[in-house]
Every structure is written in C-alpha cells, then in structure tokens.
Symmetry: C2
C-alpha cells in the first residue's frame, strides 16, 4: 500500500481523550455492514464511483484531449465545489513547466479582470464543468469567458456536464462546443477519478493510470477485508465517529506536512462537510498545513478546547533539500548544523504529533513514503471510503446536500431586485 | 468609517440561536473596562501596537527600502506565522504588474526547488523576518536562500528581527546584511501595521499611509467611545464570547465574499487562535471564502451541528464585472439576463446571510463599500481590538502562546536523532 495509517495516537492507552478498546470495537462492529454493502454496490454498478479505479475505456479520449490542450500556454477551468477541488488537488502535484491551469471557482469580478489581463486568448483553452449544468456561478463564468475568447471559443472549449438537456449543455450545443458527459450518478465531490479530475490532471502531466491504480489498491483491500479492522478506511471512520459520539470531538483537522497537499485539504473539507454535515450530525473539517500552522493554530490545538481530532499527513522528507552549513559558530544553532531542510520538516511533523498526543489530543498519522499519482490516488480513495462508512455510522446520506437549495432560490430572487449592499 | 458591522443576525430577535438582549448587555458590561484599559496602554506606551496607526516617523525609511526593492523582479519574504500573514494579507490587495512577492512560510524542500528554479537570483531581493531570531524554519530558509543568492546576498537582503543579539541577527551581522528592528513589544500576530507588514506591502504598491489611517479611525472611535455599545470591536467581542458561553458556539467562521480577502482570513485565523485558544477557552477560527464555500461547506453550516458563529465580509460589487447577454433563450436563465458578474456575487452574499440567519445560525455582516488600503486597515484594527477585548471577557492573556514551546523542544531533540518516518 502506498500509505500507512496509524491510529495509536487516537486510543485511550496512548492519549487521554482517545477511544477505549471497547468503544473502538463497538464502532467497528457498527461499521462492518458498510463493507459488504459497498461491495454489492460496486458489483451491481449502483455506485459507479467505485468502478472508476478499474476503468480504462475512457483514458484514450482524455489522453487525446489532454494532448490537444497541453499545447496551450494556459487552460482555464471553470466550475466550483466538486467540479474544481479534485482537479486542484491533482494539478498541485504536477511537474513545473507545463501548461498552466487556472481553476476559477468564484465570481469575483476583480479576479476575472486580473485573469483576462494576464492571459492571451489566442493561447488559452477553456474547460467548463458543472454536473447539473445549472450552477449560476459557472454559467456566469462561462458567459464571461465566451466573450473574452470571442470567435476562438468553438475550437478551444470543452464543456463537461450531465448528458440530459440543461442550461450549460444547451448553450454549448448552440455554440457548437465540444461536450463531454459527467456521469449523472457520480456526485461532484466523488468525481475526482472521473474525467472531471482526470482531464485537468492529464493536461498538467499527472500519470492518471497510476492515480487510479493507487485508488484501486485501497478500494480492493477495503472491500475484500474479512474484518473491518483490516480495512483502513473503516478503522478511520470508526475512530472519527466514536471520538465524536463518546468524547465530544466536534472538529476534525487534516494537516499535511507537504505544501503540495494543501489543496488536498480543501478537497477533503468539501467531501467531509457536504457528505456528513446534516441532521445536526457530522464534525467540522478543518484544513491546516504543517509546519505553517504550528505558528498559527498549534497554541489553540494544544491548549484550547479539547474538541478536535487531528490527522497529520507526513511525507518522508529526511535527507532532502538544501543543506545547512556543517559548522555553525552559534551554539544555539548546533542542532541545525549539517542538517537538510527535509530533516527539519521531518522532525517537526513527528514532534507535533507526539506533542498533540501527550497533551491528550487524539491524533492519527498518515505516512507517505513518496508523494506521487499513486499515493494521492490511495489517499483520495481512503477518504472517500472513510466518508461513506462514517455516513453509515452517523446514519446520514453521504450523497445528497439538501440544505443548500434555499440559498440558491433566495439568490435568484435577489438578482431580480435592484437592491445592493450599502456601507454607511 | 470605511466598514460597517451589523450584528442583527446574531440577536435572538432575528436568529433562533442568537444572544438575548440581556446576554448582550451583560457581555458588554463585562467588556466595558477593557476600553479605558486599552486607552491607558496606548497613552503610556505599554502596548506599542496601539501607537502604530499614528506613527509617521518610520515611513521615510520603509519608503526608501521599498523603492530599492521595488526594482527587483521578485522579492522573497522568509518567515512564518505573524512574520508572514500580515504581509500576505496586504500584498493580496496590490495592483498587478509590480514586483512579485513570494511569501515562503514553510520548509518544504520541493517548494524551495520550484522557487529557485523559477527565479533569477540576479533579479531577486530577500527579506527575512523573525521576531525572536530563533525560529528554526526561518533560519533554515535563510541558509538556503543565502546559498542561492551567493555573493549577491549582502547587497540585496534585509533582516527584520529584535534589536537584542539572537541567532538571525548575529548571522546577519557576520554576513554584513542590513538589519531592521522588530519592536520587541509587538507580537508577530499584531505586527501587520509595523515594518513587518508595511515593507512587503509598500514594495507591492500598497498605500501604507491610507492603511494606517483606516486603522487609526477604528482605534480612535473605539477608545473614545463613551459606551461600549458604540465601539464596534467591543460589540463584536461581546457577541462572540456570549455565543460561546451561553449558546454552545465553538467555532467562528470568517467568510469574505472577495478573493483578495482570502489571506485576511488566514491572518484572522492566527490572531484569534493564538490569542484566545488557551486554558481550554476560545473558539476555533475557520477561514471560508464566498461563494466558493457555498459549494463546499454551506450544507454543514446550515444543517450540521449548530455550533458556529458566522462573520460574512461583503463588498459592494453590484454593477461590476462582465455583463451577461441581454437576452437568453433558455427561460431557466432569465434571472441572469443582462446582469453582471458582480450582481451575482452581491445577490449570493446577501442570500447566504439571510439563509444562515433563517436557519438559526448567528451571522454578523461586515460591509465594505470599497476594498482598499484604508478599509483593510480598518478591518485589521477592528479584529485586533475585538480579539484583545474578547481576551478580557474570557480571562486569558491575548499576547502569549505558552503551549507551543513543548513541540519546539521535541523537534530539536528529534533533529539530533537519526530516525525518520517510514511507511510500510
């Protein structure tokens, strides 16, 4: 497996506020039925996201489009939430020097002014993604970019949306743009291994076959586990939910010690919040980055309310990066002499994990030997499975987001009015 | 005033889980002594951050250095936490086309490889900031950049640190680098209006006089208020603490509807967490961005645990940005016809605020008529004062961060060992 999960720091034996063996047993027993249920849904095709890791039939088309768009200097990806965060997560791992991908996930006029001023429409491709095809933000972005690309738009735009007629698809057809199907049965926040994540990733130079391989290994190991204790996502879900239900944990902090995983933290944040935050249940996901947030959030984490679970994502970095001088005159700096930058981040991540645990803050550790397409695929699949299993434990539907409709209706209503916000 | 605070959506009259009039009265009564106390500390100079808005004597030096560094194509700013987040907040508001500022606040070897590959040392300036001069991350960054700049370093490096001897200052002196004093009595998270924030901001083209003017107006209005009810930061602190103490609010979400304020959210997050997260007290700050997080967090915010307070930062954007076609054939798109991008974000921010309040989620609204140096100065000062007043209400010291020392000691210990993390 290309990652390792260690939950020792979440157990009462090692951490004052951790779960007891009995609590963990109970949660695992309740989580157990989720595994055969997921296996059935994979087999009968009712949850197509579980078939994505094994798919190969869609690669040729994505590859050809990626080769075409890889010739552009810049590619703009329109879309928000699940249409954007998976792609952002993958592209953050891309090698430098390729086509630059700009994920525009907001409707801030200033950001579009800066974008249009900085790019050359003659050297830019456009990908617009909206599952429903009715997302107001994406439609407004789309119109703005169509104007900017002008007559060039038909040749260099791809629209990804559901196959059935919808506003975005109808606009694309009227303008003779290429359209690709978003699987109607894969929700945005579970779409990273579909064309939604794969097309931007492949343009940026990510090995999408390795990505799916990494995800597939975690999926297979989980669904074939005889005991939920052997399925890392089930163990993660059991610990997460038990800490909430028995120990007052209300927030869950994911803190990678790798800059390239900062976007992964945002992807996780949507997955966890939208899938589980319903009926008054769920925990609040928080994205942190190590070591940066040691200098921002660690005081709170260690000495504020004991209401958080921590998941540190560590990468083996020792021995990497710039080397410090072998001799340092200042005795206060002796600990740095001859060390490398990677030695410091390595020591910091281990020290922070230990400090959290010693202070009674339940802490799980993910360890990656390498950060590549395969290991990010594994991590993404781990969290999708953990989220679905946690939904079983909380008794909520992991696939809907019923509460957000009210605000959309109200926004349309306000758009019809003349009012605007006023400061005095 | 260049911003307006509206707490109506945090009151029980308008929001089910809001504070009652009696609870607010009580909290304001308890907050009241903080105002004359702060006024005294301003007068006798014991809290020098309160004198920064009125300072002009330091501008000439910063201006001259900014002019010099403004000639570089790129400037790297080393430092983490309070040495970085204030500058990041200000530079995010800078006009495009100036010197690019790269805030390096981590020790990820890969990020430094990318940085050094992308920049030309002959066209790059360096600013290293550490108040104590002993921050391991900043020292390691410093050594790496010294090597990279090589013989050029002396001419193009500025070190900002406390006046007393410390590792970074001693290194700077040995290498004949220019050093500037970090006021020893202004903590990093309160340093944005000092040279720490102002130097990067001025290089990037921010009007720092307007910044201080905006901050000064809020400070003066607050310290001269006869009644804490007339001091916006006192009202904000009273509501925030009362929601925590009386209504089970454990998290506080700051959600600007402006991309350029995304870094402000990170600055706030440190200020609030490090100042208040101690002795088991405080609330957990969460940075969100609208409308982006409507498609990621809003489901949780509306229908998950009712344990959050929201502060939406709205900018008057109606009438701005690209315009949609005047006629749209699809009746489902009629609501967008002829509208501008700014109309949509304007409607979204108001609709989300109303939806949160209707769902019983206490919501405060900040409104900015413009986003400029003056209004960001006002917002920064508002939050510094609100944080200090909240500390009085919770009975904690807003200026220390005692819990983080343990991890630092452990990291040094680990650095001395040969161990490293291993995945299996």
């Amino acid at each position: 497996m290309s990652y390792r999960q260690d939950i020792a720091g979440c157990l009462a034996d090692n951490c004052k506020a951790g779960v007891t063996a009995a609590e963990l047993d109970d949660a695992l027993r309740r989580a157990a039925p989720a595994l055969p249920k997921l296996a059935t849904m994979q087999r009968n095709g009712s949850l197509p996201l579980l078939r994505l890791p094994a798919r190969r039939d869609d690669i040729a088309q994505i590859k050809s489009l990626a080769a075409e768009f890889g010739k552009f200097k810049d590619v703009i990806v329109l879309g928000t939430g699940g249409s954007s965060l998976g792609g952002q997560t993958l592209v953050a791992l891309a090698p430098p020097g390729r086509t630059r991908i700009h994920f525009m996930d907001n409707v801030d006029p200033h950001s579009f002014t800066l974008l249009f001023d900085a790019l050359d429409p003659a050297k830019t491709g456009l990908i617009a993604i909206s599952k429903s095809g009715g997302t107001a933000e994406t439609l407004v972005q789309f119109f703005a970019c169509m104007d900017w690309l002008s007559r060039r738009s038909a040749a260099r735009t791809i629209v990804i949306t559901e196959p059935k007629s919808n506003p975005l698809r109808d606009l694309a057809i009227a303008r003779k743009l290429r359209t690709l199907d978003h699987d109607p049965n894969i929700g945005g926040r579970y779409s990273v291994l579909s064309i939604v994540g794969l097309l931007p990733a492949m343009i940026a130079g990510i090995d999408v076959a390795a990505l799916r391989r990494g995800a597939g290994a975690v999926l297979d190991a989980t669904l074939s586990a005889k005991d939920p204790r052997d399925a890392a996502p089930a163990v993660g879900a059991a610990v997460s939910v038990a800490l909430n239900q028995r120990h007052g944990v209300v927030s869950t902090v994911v803190m990678p010690y790798v800059d390239r995983l900062a976007h992964f933290g945002l992807w996780f944040r949507q997955l966890w919040a939208e899938s589980l935050g319903k009926d008054g249940k769920g925990t609040t996901p928080i994205r942190a980055v190590g070591t940066v947030d040691q200098h921002s959030q660690l005081q709170l984490y260690l000495d504020g309310p004991a209401d958080k679970m921590f998941s540190l994502v560590m990468l083996a970095q020792a021995g990497k990066g710039p080397r410090m001088p072998a001799k340092l005159a200042d005795p206060n700096l002796a600990y740095l002499a001859g060390k490398r930058m990677g030695d410091l981040i390595d020591a910091e991540q281990r020290a922070t994990a230990q400090t959290l645990i010693r202070n009674g803050r339940p802490t799980r550790i993910f360890t990656l030997e390498r950060l590549d397409a395969q290991s990010i695929g594994a991590l993404l699949m781990h969290y999708m499975l953990e989220t679905m299993i946690a939904a079983e434990l909380w008794g909520v539907n992991a696939f809907d987001q019923p509460a957000v409709e009210q605000g959309k209706v109200l926004a349309r209503q306000y758009l019809g009015e003349k009012g605007r916000v006023k400061a005095q």
